[in-house]
């Protein structure tokens, strides 16, 4: 296909207001589409429609969770905030851990892709969270992986679990990031909907903190890393086949798999390249390309900056032939970053990229306007106020209602269950528990993860928390634990979320570290189910109130809705990650019994 084939430009859109557009197939509701038309004062172009639809999706816009998540901000006191250098709203939270060190950490879900293609779904989940940490200016230092699967003996678990574990390991091991902990939990509600959450911790000097923004008129926008291909453009292919019906590529592309394939080697090189760029001080702003690809990176960079942005889309290096502007903007090809660089530094930037054999292309420029303008071979295909794409998406006040089954569930007390009464019964009971999937050894999983690489791992499996040394000279380090018991949350979402927080907090504390901050990954069913929304609202409140009681802030997190098979939602699973600081890792307290003759003391009631 030649580039002169019909392109749905702004000019053309203005001239053809009556054109019907497949916005419903792209996931936009009638009123959302109407709002896009209102913002633009015309119908959107295909490229704009692709951008709005993906940026206004639940995943990117948090439209169902926003009203509840604000509770975290409302309850965070100045004192809790005192060591927080970046919080909710940034790529990842950042805390000051002393001695001039800042630590950034975040957990994110990659649940659905890991069900479709376990290996690649899990691998790219790790890749995505690592780029988030990198985009803060930090060196990624370690990963963790809270996982949930269906019943251990279900045939599909046999497909999903080995693939997920191999994917987490395959990507993390190849990046050279030690895996310092995680969870493996089995429950039938995760059968068609496993949870693959990935957490990454990174560190930097406080002054090296980078925030994603594009400012300074005339500064250049550089896309670097992998080429852009037809990965994960899933839904957007309806546009391609509409526009190019009959075209050679169109028919084939309709069947595009919406999976992405990871290339950890490219990401490893990208990490080293970025860190060298940071050291040279030649990055004004930076953003990783994750879900929503360039749509997200360009609109977020532009809306966080002080001007507009012009992007020449035909400059984007492609991997596939005949990609349309909408496809290029929506591609979720992995291992890409976008940086804003002063013109005088572009040569130096390119030199560092060449050293690491990283492809880098100047694709745009910061302008003194207030619009994000994207052109395609001279024709304007996007002309939008970037905030309307990135930050001013729809906000829903979904109905919230305590499920009718809640009373029944709570009334079902364990009192009626048989208790072992003889020592033989007790022995049998203990053996049964030790052999049960949820309590058995995790070695089959953890053996597939490198826990030693980088030489800073002080605690990893089988410890209650993972611990890494940040500063070799002083021994300063951090501990991290992530936990959640979905059954407790199901029984009582408010208290259950607090129990998850308390467990992670304790795991960090018993390793000898001082808990300082919290991240979370809130995995729930459909937000359109009022009962699920109630679970969500209660869990958020419980977690936030728990954080106030403990005096540590939530610095960031991730929401994953629509985790259900048919009408059956997963157990509500708000995974809570707690970060702790230890002045000298040599003082860590390992898990397990000490020497013979030591006294065992039980604390608490």
């Amino acid at each position: 296909m030649t580039t002169t084939a019909h392109v749905d430009s702004v000019e053309y859109a203005e001239a053809t207001p009556e054109t019907t557009q497949p916005y419903r197939e792209l996931g936009l509701k009638d009123d959302e589409y109407a709002r896009v038309r209102e913002i633009l004062g015309r119908r959107p172009t295909d490229a704009e429609l692709a951008m709005y639809s993906v940026m206004w999706s639940e995943h990117c816009s948090y439209k169902s969770s926003k009203v509840h998540l604000s509770y975290f901000g409302e309850t965070t006191t100045d004192e809790m905030r005192s060591t927080m250098l970046a919080g909710i709203g940034e790529n990842a939270g950042v805390v000051d851990i002393g001695d001039g060190w800042a630590v950034t950490f975040k957990v994110e879900s990659h649940n659905h892709p890991s069900y479709v293609e376990p290996y690649q779904g899990a691998a790219t989940g790790v890749g995505g969270i690592v780029r988030d940490i990198l985009a803060m200016g930090a060196r990624p230092l370690a990963v963790m992986d809270p996982l949930r699967f269906g019943a251990a003996d279900a045939p599909d678990t046999r497909r999903v679990l080995p693939g997920v574990v191999a994917g987490v390991g395959g990507y993390g091991n190849c990046l050279g990031l030690p895996n310092i902990g995680g969870e493996v939990v089995f429950d039938p509600t995760y059968q068609g909907n496993p949870l693959v959450n990935a957490l990454c911790v990174g560190a930097m000097r406080v002054e090296d903190l980078h925030l994603a923004h594009a400012s300074g008129t005339g500064n250049k926008v550089i896309l670097f890393g992998a080429r852009t291909g037809l990965d994960g453009i899933g839904g957007v292919s309806v546009l391609a086949s509409d526009t190019f019906a009959g075209d050679e590529g169109g028919g084939k592309r309709r069947k595009l798999p919406s999976v992405q394939v990871g290339d950890p080697f490219t990401e490893k090189v990208l990490i080293e390249c970025c860190l060298e760029l940071f050291r040279e001080g030649i990055v004004v702003g930076i953003q990783d390309l994750g879900g929503a690809g360039l749509s997200c990176a360009t609109s977020e960079l532009a809306s966080a900056g002080d001007g507009g942005m012009h992007v020449w889309l035909e400059r984007v290096p492609l991997r596939a032939k005949g990609m349309t502007p909408a496809e290029i903007l929506s591609s979720e090809s992995q291992e890409r970053m976008c940086a804003v660089v002063r013109p005088a530094d572009v040569d130096a930037f390119m030199r560092v990229c060449r050293k690491w054999d990283v492809i880098a292309t100047e694709i745009g420029e910061v302008t003194d306007g207030d619009h994000l303008v994207i052109t395609w071979h001279g024709e304007t295909v996007v002309d939008v106020p970037p905030r309307t794409v990135a930050h001013e998406g729809p906000v829903y006040e979904r109905p919230v209602e305590r499920p009718s089954f809640q009373d029944e569930v709570i009334a079902d007390l364990p009192d009626g269950l048989a208790r072992p009464s003889t020592s033989d019964d007790l022995r049998a009971e203990i053996l049964r528990m030790a052999g049960s999937p949820n309590l058995s050894s995790r070695r089959w999983v953890t053996e597939q993860y490198d826990r030693y690489v980088r030489g800073g791992t002080v605690l990893a499996q089988p410890s209650d928390s993972g611990m890494i040394r940040i500063d070799e000279a002083t021994g300063r380090g951090v501990a991290m634990s992530c936990d959640c018991n979905g059954r407790y949350v199901y029984l009582d979402p408010y208290t259950g979320a607090q129990l998850a927080l308390a467990e992670a907090y304790r795991n960090v504390a018993v390793s000898g570290a001082r808990p300082v901050a919290v991240t979370n990954c809130l995995n729930f069913g459909s937000p359109e189910d009022p009962g699920v929304m109630w679970q969500f609202q209660q869990a958020v409140r419980g977690l936030a109130d728990g954080c106030v009681a403990l005096g540590i802030p939530v610095t960031g997190g991730n929401v994953s809705f629509y985790n259900q098979t048919g009408t059956t939602a997963i157990l509500p699973t708000p995974v809570v990650g707690v970060l702790g600081v230890i002045d000298d890792v040599a003082a860590r307290i390992p898990t397990g019994l000490g020497a013979e003759g030591d006294t065992l003391v039980l604390l608490g009631e």
């Binding site: 080697f265 490893k268 053996e447 597939q448 826990r451 980088r454 030489g455 070799e472």
Partner: protein, 223 residues
């Protein structure tokens, strides 16, 4: 101070750890870049672990063509001590400095575990600090660690006493003859799958059994 080169390819992961181990042993680590045909005057070289160039074709297959490897091969032939750890071992085999090849683990999974080994040979540049038959614990972590070679090659290695380390208790990757590490005929070049650089301090590893490998080389160079 004895200068020990540590090679970095794109995709190398354990280079900072190898450099730290050299420092702990009392040497000066010097980083060597894959694109440079220059050993910067070092007295010994460590080719560390990782996934050079992603190892997508075959572990070590692309790295051995890097400019720096021509220099390493030349220096090794002149008697410079060279240690290949994990991916480094794979690269030395691909480059023909050591015989055989390292293939996908028999269990088909990546394996990371604290591994007991026996030091079978102590007259190499890298093992003189151990006692013959000494049992040590060193982490293994690899996907492609199964030592394989023609039977005649293995017989020759065994006959000449060039098996330097052997796995004890479990064979983590299905290596022929439980081979964990081998050496060149003159004992100057050693390759092994386990990671001595991750066993230099009980704080961050299973112990400090790996340190003697680096201090052995410093002594060998000084002698």
């Amino acid at each position: 101070m004895t200068r020990v080169g540590v090679v970095t390819f794109p995709g190398t992961l354990d280079d900072t750890d190898a450099a730290r181990a050299v420092r702990h042993a009392g040497g000066e680590p010097v980083s060597l870049w894959h694109k440079d045909a220059d050993l910067r005057g070092v007295d010994a070289v460590v080719v560390p672990g990782g996934f050079s160039y992603g190892d997508y074709l075959r572990a070590g297959a692309i790295a051995r063509f890097a400019p720096v490897m021509d220099e390493v091969v030349g220096a090794a032939h002149r008697g410079m001590p060279v240690l290949g750890i994990c991916n480094g071992f794979q690269i030395l085999c691909e480059a023909g400095l050591l015989p055989g090849a390292l293939l996908r683990n028999a269990g088909l999974h990546f394996v990371c575990r604290d591994q007991r080994l026996r030091v079978e040979r102590t007259d190499t540049a890298w093992t003189a600090g151990y006692t013959a038959g000494q049992e040590i614990v060193i982490p293994v972590k690899n996907m492609d660690g199964r030592y394989a070679a023609a039977k005649s090659t293995v017989d020759e290695l065994e006959g000449e006493g060039r098996v330097v380390f052997r796995y004890l208790d479990v064979n983590p990757n299905g290596s022929l003859g439980e081979i964990a590490g081998i050496s060149s005929a003159d004992g100057r070049i050693v390759g092994l799958m386990p990671h001595p650089e991750h066993a230099i301090d009980p704080l961050t590893g299973p112990g400090a059994d790996g340190l003697a490998m680096f201090s052995s080389a410093l002594k060998a160079v000084a002698a």
